[in-house]
């Protein structure tokens, strides 16, 4: 299947997604090629570094296909957490909105294309707080 046909098929598939969806998937943000662009499309403004955002991730990952990342926000009133892998082709990985009894915490396995900073941006009371951890991706095995 040549790339052009695959692109149109992918685009078509997106149109088929029913309008009343869950949290509507932000196509621009997830299609953005830089972290800055992605966050802007999410309406996330300047964010302050904060030690109340805890990121638990391995410093060295034997394989970039599965990198466990655990994020906790201790900023009171946190309503959402966005996860960004800065050097990925599409940096925005996920965005979680918390309400009712869900604590601002998430653990998820993500793909890290090459050694990069993994960044979390939390939103609380209209302000944004951020922290990041570097993950070195290495090649295991005999490369063959």
């Amino acid at each position: 299947m040549n790339p052009f046909r695959r692109k149109t098929l992918a685009a078509l598939a997106l149109l088929l997604v029913p309008l009343r969806a869950l949290a509507a998937w932000n196509k621009e943000a997830f299609g953005a090629k830089s972290a800055g662009e992605a966050l802007k499309s999410l309406g996330i403004g300047a964010s302050a570094d904060s030690k109340d955002i805890l990121i638990e991730a391995p410093q060295i990952a034997e394989n970039g296909a599965v990198v466990p990342v655990e994020i906790t926000s201790n900023v009171p009133g946190t309503r959402s957490i966005a996860v960004v892998v800065e050097k990925n082709p599409f940096p925005l990985v996920a965005k979680f909105d918390f309400s009712e009894s869900a604590l601002p915490f998430v653990k998820v396995n993500v793909k890290v294309g090459e050694s990069s900073f993994v960044r979390a941006i939390a939103e609380a009371g209209g302000k944004y707080y951020t922290a990041s951890r570097e993950v070195k991706v290495t090649i295991g095995g005999c490369g063959g």
Binding site: A21, F90, F96, L103, F105, V108
Partner: protein, 103 residues
């Protein structure tokens, strides 16, 4: 492989930890199959977690989430027997929904 969504809940003092394991290839569209041609992009885009019918968590995710995604969340005030419902929707419009009671 069938598509069981495996949910495990652990009720703790401060919160209940919910761990959900989904079956999905989460294809980036960059991978080639053994024949050498590109496998089309195919990934879960949206997911939600409901407790006793009320949405407590909504996620927008991408192909950068690993294959067979594994998520963990924490719910305050959830007790055993409460109804937990997790649903996802992928970029091809396929859906999956699993309901369970908190252990």
């Amino acid at each position: 492989m069938a598509d069981p969504m495996k949910i495990r809940t652990t009720v703790g003092a401060e919160y209940t930890e919910v761990r959900v394991l989904m079956v999905h290839p989460m294809e980036t569209g960059q991978r080639k199959d053994s024949g050498g041609n590109l496998i089309p992009i195919h990934f879960i885009q949206e997911m939600s977690v409901k407790l006793n019918g009320k949405t407590v968590l909504e996620g927008q995710i991408s192909q950068a989430v690993s294959r067979n995604p594994v998520f963990s969340f924490r719910l305050k005030g959830a007790k055993s027997g409460d109804k937990l419902e997790i649903a996802w929707l992928d970029n091809r419009g396929e859906r999956n929904r699993t309901e369970t009671a908190i252990a």
